[in-house]
Amino acid sequence: MTQDVSLQVNNLRVHYHTQDQAVKAVDDVTFSLYAGERLGIVGESGSGKSTLALALMRLHKPPAKIEGGEVILGETDILKVNREQMRQVRWSEISFIPQGSMNSLNPVMKIKHQMSDAIKAHQQGWTQQKISDRISDLLGRVGLSNSIADMYPHELSGGMKQRVCIALAIVLEPRAIIADEPTSALDVVVQRVVIQTLNDIQQQLNAAMIIIGHDMGLMAQSVDRLAVMYAGKMVDVSPVSSFFNDPLHPYSQLLISSLPSPDEKRELTGIPGMQPSLLDLPSGCAFHPRCPIAVEKCRQQIPPLRQIEESRRTACHLVEEKLR
């Protein structure tokens, strides 16, 4: 794995503006995505991970608004470019694989036209022949037959549609791909096929990929690093092996102990309480009301995301003190 940074996100803040206050859906998030790497982002529903995914491509819709920060893709901060420049960056530099739902493809357009649309929006010089060659090559790479190109989305199964979306995401060989819960809404067998396809494709292109989801098991098998989001903040970033072997943040520890394991028979523990409402966050560390080891400091100060080891960062006062 090379250490070239594909995507650098600094202090990104995305707020939803309601009538009388701003909801901080993404609050001061900083992370790097390296070329050829797969980064998983996990979190409960409402933790801000999908908002983050959309904001990275500036696809968020009002009332969401980017309040500050940088999203540096290659050399350019895409939060600073104008609409037309942003349009050109999309898909050619950073593409998107939507949730494995049924509605991501235009129901009235043939698959080949949905794919050629993306090519034509960015590459003027391509001949019709080159475009259709490219489409059949891509469909082959995700394990679909060429006849799919002439079909409409309603003629495909959920897994086939998701593989079409993967093929679509790489038509222009972007440097970064964001997959937002690419396997939700698919059954377990198809999930595996789709994740495998995704990994193969990503390795072939050596693209950087962000996979967003909440299936820890699937994540464990498919990503290099894992980032945990809680109440709009990134609270734990770690290589996937050390994340599962020796989780640092108390929330990560609880997440892992809530997973069943075939090796040891033990009582499964859930995480007590509910994720707080973003409208009414607790003081200090947002996790403190549910944290089994919280101390007074946790109620007062928000812990910053600190470097703990070479490649691990965690936002927890206690972890920080223990290791100091």
Partner: protein, 328 residues
């Protein structure tokens, strides 16, 4: 059975059913047309001799002495061959020739103004729901609501009063200046267009609000669809997303609504034609009703049903081209 065959059968069934109703309803009334004519004569103080013989002769001539099912079959055969009988008030003109004279005017007026209302209303409605459309368009929403609430004929009267009576810039009625002889010369065509503006405008304006509000509603729903987010993520140009992804999908319910609305458009146009003295099918129907011209009324009614059924058939046949999911 293939989709289009099923639709065609549906069309034939609708037409036969409408023709049947047309046959039954007048016969449900007590008495028969011959004796009611004689009744009328007697009421005017005229004496009618050998009344029974006259009734019998005319009943035979019009085939009213035959059993009902025979009458029905010959009626059906005639109707489906477009032999609709003689008009009483325009005698010796036949019903079909009266209809054929009126038809070009109605088709010209209705087709153009309905299409304009649909196209313009749909486009404006789509823009109303498009986040990147100019903001001032939002101001049109109350206007559209107002327009969709005003009936065609009321709007027609209003327009006629303002442009025909107060400003005197457009003619008050008719399809062309009465002294001219219809021809295909340029001055005559311009004259026809001038006469068509007000009736056309009242149909267009009254329909505009309906189409715009309907389209806006669908577009708002479609904004949240994942395929629009993906289209934007693909870096497509705005124009392409708007027409190829948003409008293209929002159009489908509009087309359905068009098929349904065609019926009310036809009946609404009847009143507009009456208001403007426009020599179309509506005006024909109005005069037929006034002079109790039964055959003509039947003919026009049957013809209106036929048109609507035909329009619905056309929409039905076009629909699979617009929405590939419909063919099963």
């Amino acid at each position: 059975m293939p989709y289009f065959v099923r639709r065609l059968i549906m069309f034939v069934v609708v037409v036969i059913f409408a023709a049947t109703l047309n046959f039954i309803i007048p016969r449900l009334a007590p008495g028969d047309p011959i004796s009611s004519v004689l009744e009328e004569l007697r009421a005017r103080g005229q004496t009618v001799q050998a009344e029974d013989d006259i009734v019998a002769v005319y009943r035979e001539r019009f085939g009213l002495d035959k059993p009902l099912h025979e009458q029905y079959i010959s009626y059906l055969v005639n109707t489906l061959q477009f032999d609709l009988g003689y008009s009483i008030s325009y005698f010796p003109q036949t019903v079909e020739s009266a209809l054929l004279n009126a038809l070009p005017w109605t088709i010209g007026l209705l087709a153009v103004s309905t299409f304009m209302a649909f196209a313009l209303g749909t486009l404006l409605g789509a823009l109303l729901a498009w986040p990147r459309a100019p903001q001032f368009l939002q101001g049109l929403i109350p206007l559209f609501m107002l327009l969709s609430a005003i009936p065609y004929y009321l709007l027609a009267l209003l327009l006629m009063y303002v442009f025909g009576f107060l400003l005197k810039v457009l003619p008050l009625g008719g399809a062309y200046t009465s002294a001219t002889v219809p021809s295909l010369s340029l001055p005559f065509i311009l004259d026809v267009i001038k006469h068509g503006i007000l009736p056309g405008l009242s149909i267009t304006l009254a329909g505009l609000g309906f189409w715009a509000l309907g389209m806006r509603g669908t577009m708002v729903t479609i904004q949240g669809e994942d395929y629009l987010t993906l289209a934007e993520a693909k870096g497509l140009r705005d124009r392409r997303i708007f027409f190829g992804y948003a409008v293209r999908n929002a159009l489908l319910p509009q087309i359905t609504a068009l098929a349904i609305a065609l019926g009310s458009v036809a009946s609404g146009a009847v009143l507009v034609e009456v208001v403007f003295n426009y020599p179309g099918v509506g005006w024909l129907l109005y005069n037929a009703l006034r002079s109790s011209d039964y055959y003509l009324i039947q003919g026009v009614a049957f013809f209106l049903v036929l048109t609507v059924a035909l329009a619905v058939l056309v929409v039905d046949l076009i629909y699979p081209l617009l929405d590939p999911r419909i063919v099963r």
